[in-house]
């Protein structure tokens, strides 16, 4: 196996592991954390509720996408 193929297999493994079949969760978490970081850097006070509420909305949206209508 060449170094290129090894690197590609390594990259694919981590992509599957972190992104997998729920890209909305990986992207959503990145956006939520970056937004919180941006607000903190701009000296906007972040309340304790912001992160949990944003994450619950993200989970609900992902569940909605993954549900199997009866």
């Amino acid at each position: 196996m060449t170094a290129g193929r090894l690197l590609s297999a390594f990259g694919r493994f981590w992509w599957e592991f972190i992104v997998g079949d729920t890209p909305e969760l990986a992207l959503g978490v990145a956006l939520v954390v970056l937004a919180a970081w941006g607000l903190a850097a701009a000296k906007v006070p972040i309340g304790a509720a912001l992160l949990p509420v944003a994450l619950l909305l993200l989970l609900t949206a992902s569940l909605w996408r993954g549900r199997r209508p009866g």
């Binding site: 978490v29 972040i46 304790a48 992160l51 993954g66």
Partner: protein
């Protein structure tokens, strides 16, 4: 104290779930290809995983500033935790089939029995199957041990929790042999998902500058909030599913 206990419980639960999945493969390899090869493959994979934790853990602590580590680790925990929680909620509400260890075991046994075996010595197929199974399932545990252990400054507690789960589930699994489906895997997955999301929120928040009221005690509040939300989501989604849910 609260954080230490939650770290130990989260790692123990995560490791228990992954050990059940790895054990299914090891049992299938052992019974069809011989125990020596399957056990050697499993032990080598555990040694590799332990070496990764021992090498990466201290290096990351010394090289990466704690605030950056907490944001990165918190985000990783959030992604992993939300994935676990999503899967467990969909299964508990009947929107996704149960992870059936018995069916996986039967499939592996049938596949491995059909392959030719060497007359003497180590069976390479059994060795590789067991090694790969334990290594792949263990990678997630290593991620959880490293992320939870590093962010909380309790790498030893996290490693002990993982070791205890491997020993306990390994022993029980070996005794029960082909009844791994009796392990309440989905309930464990739900519990671990809740704890990973709780810790992920807490550390990612601390990393970006959120000041949590009550410090470590706020972890319990987050856990309760996510627990209630998960219960509400299971109840709501369960009503619109025509299939039976499986919490266990």
């Amino acid at each position: 104290m609260t954080a230490t206990l939650l770290v130990a419980l989260a790692v123990f639960g995560a490791c228990a779930v992954e050990t059940v999945e790895a054990l299914t493969i090891v049992l299938a390899a052992g019974l069809t290809r011989g125990w020596r090869s399957a056990l050697e493959g499993s032990v080598l994979a555990v040694v590799v995983l332990a070496a990764v934790v021992a090498a990466l853990g201290p290096a990351l602590i010394h090289l990466v500033p704690i605030a950056v580590l907490r944001v990165v680790v918190g985000s990783l925990l959030l992604v992993l935790g939300l994935q676990w929680l999503r899967k467990a909620i969909l299964r508990a509400s009947g929107h996704k089939p149960k992870h059936d260890e018995d069916a996986i075991y039967q499939r592996e046994v049938a596949r491995l029995s059909g392959l030719p075996r060497p007359a003497t010595g180590r069976d390479a197929v059994g060795f590789v199957i067991a090694f790969k199974g334990v290594l792949l399932e263990g990678t997630e545990v290593v991620m959880i041990v490293l992320t939870l252990g590093l962010s909380s400054g309790r790498l030893g507690v996290a490693a002990l929790g993982a070791g205890a789960a491997v020993l306990l589930v390994g022993a029980v699994g070996a005794l029960l042999a082909r009844q791994l489906s009796e392990v309440p895997e989905n309930a464990l997955k739900l519990g671990v998902g809740l704890m990973l999301v709780t810790f992920g929120t807490f550390w990612a928040g601390e990393g970006v500058g959120v000041s949590w009221p009550g410090a470590d005690l706020f972890l319990l509040g987050l856990l309760a909030l996510y627990g209630m939300a998960a219960w509400a989501l299971v109840s709501y989604l369960g009503r619109e599913s025509v299939h039976p849910g499986v919490l266990a």
